[in-house]
């Protein structure tokens, strides 16, 4: 029940950070990317039902989110 409203709130928050906040600073950029990664994880676990998937499948998804996030944040910070 909480998933859809949470995703909408997160979307609007990152919008405000990116547009109203200027999106020009590195911390804001990192915050926007981090919110997007959290939303990706929520969609994967709750909408794609990976939270109830076998450990290997769920683990592969968790690794995907962590690696994608680490690479994006590292590229954004350098």
């Amino acid at each position: 029940m909480w998933v859809f409203p949470a995703l909408v709130v997160a979307t609007l928050s990152s919008w405000l950070l990116g547009i109203e906040g200027g999106g020009m600073s590195t911390p804001i950029g990192c915050a926007v990317v981090t919110i997007a990664l959290i939303k990706v994880r929520v969609v994967g676990l709750h909408f794609m039902e990976l939270r109830n998937a076998p450990t290997a499948l769920r683990g592969a998804f968790e690794v995907y989110v962590v690696v994608t996030g680490a690479v994006l944040l590292a590229l954004h910070l350098t």
Binding site: V3, F4, L7, V8, T11, L12, S14, W15, L17, G18, I19, G22, G23, M24, G29, V32, V33, I35, A36, L37, K39, V40, V43, G44, H46, F47, M48, E49, L50, N52, A53, P54, T55, L57, A60, Y64, V67, T68, V71, L72, L75, H76, T78
Partner: protein
């Protein structure tokens, strides 16, 4: 792991589908990396080019995809329990709305004089969001399959697996946009 937990573990859709889904997701992660590298190397060009996009339309499209996904979740739940899945045609409508808005934005950007050959930003923008739009078009097919299945009085295990796979594909389309949107529109 308890016996109950072991029983509830379930792969949505055909297991082979997930190889394809992860392949697509990894391909898009490489795209995301290209965008981030471009942003790092040419921040001024990136910001200037970004001004030609229409973030309001991007936000609207994000909300449409999230709404479609939530409607698919509810629809799939109803399909499993044999109830009428009336939310699925609305999900299809949201997906069509996304395609129409994306097409409109392409037209606005091109009319403003920006094409894939203008610079690397616009090349990435048109190519990566275009590939995503191609995925969304396949997603329209997946949603149509779900709508057709919802017309049946009940679904056997095979059809239910098909419905789960179609739903998982649709959610992947949503998931990929959730990263494309901030990288192109919000991170300046």
């Amino acid at each position: 792991m308890t016996a109950t937990a072991a029983r509830t573990k379930h792969i949505p859709g055909e297991s082979g589908l997930w190889v394809f889904l992860f392949g697509d997701m990894i391909m898009f992660s490489v795209f995301f990396g290209f965008v981030a590298v471009l942003h790092g190397r040419h921040p001024a060009m990136f910001r200037a080019s970004q001004q030609a996009l229409h973030p309001g339309l991007g936000l609207l499209n994000t909300l449409l995809l999230l709404t479609a996904s939530a409607l698919v979740v509810r629809g799939l739940r109803h399909l499993r329990t044999g109830r009428p899945a009336r939310t699925l045609p609305w999900a299809l409508l949201c997906a069509l709305g996304f395609a129409a808005i994306k097409g409109s934005e392409y037209a606005l950007v091109i009319r403003a004089g920006h094409t894939p050959s203008s610079n690397d930003f616009f090349m990435y923008y048109f190519v990566f969001t275009g590939i995503h739009l191609a995925h969304l078009t396949i997603g329209l097919g997946a949603l149509t399959v779900l709508v057709v299945l919802s017309r049946r009085p009940s679904l056997g295990p095979g059809k239910l697996l098909l419905a789960e796979g179609a739903a998982a594909y649709w959610h992947m389309v949503d998931l990929l946009w959730l990263l494309l949107f901030p990288l192109f529109y919000l991170v300046a």
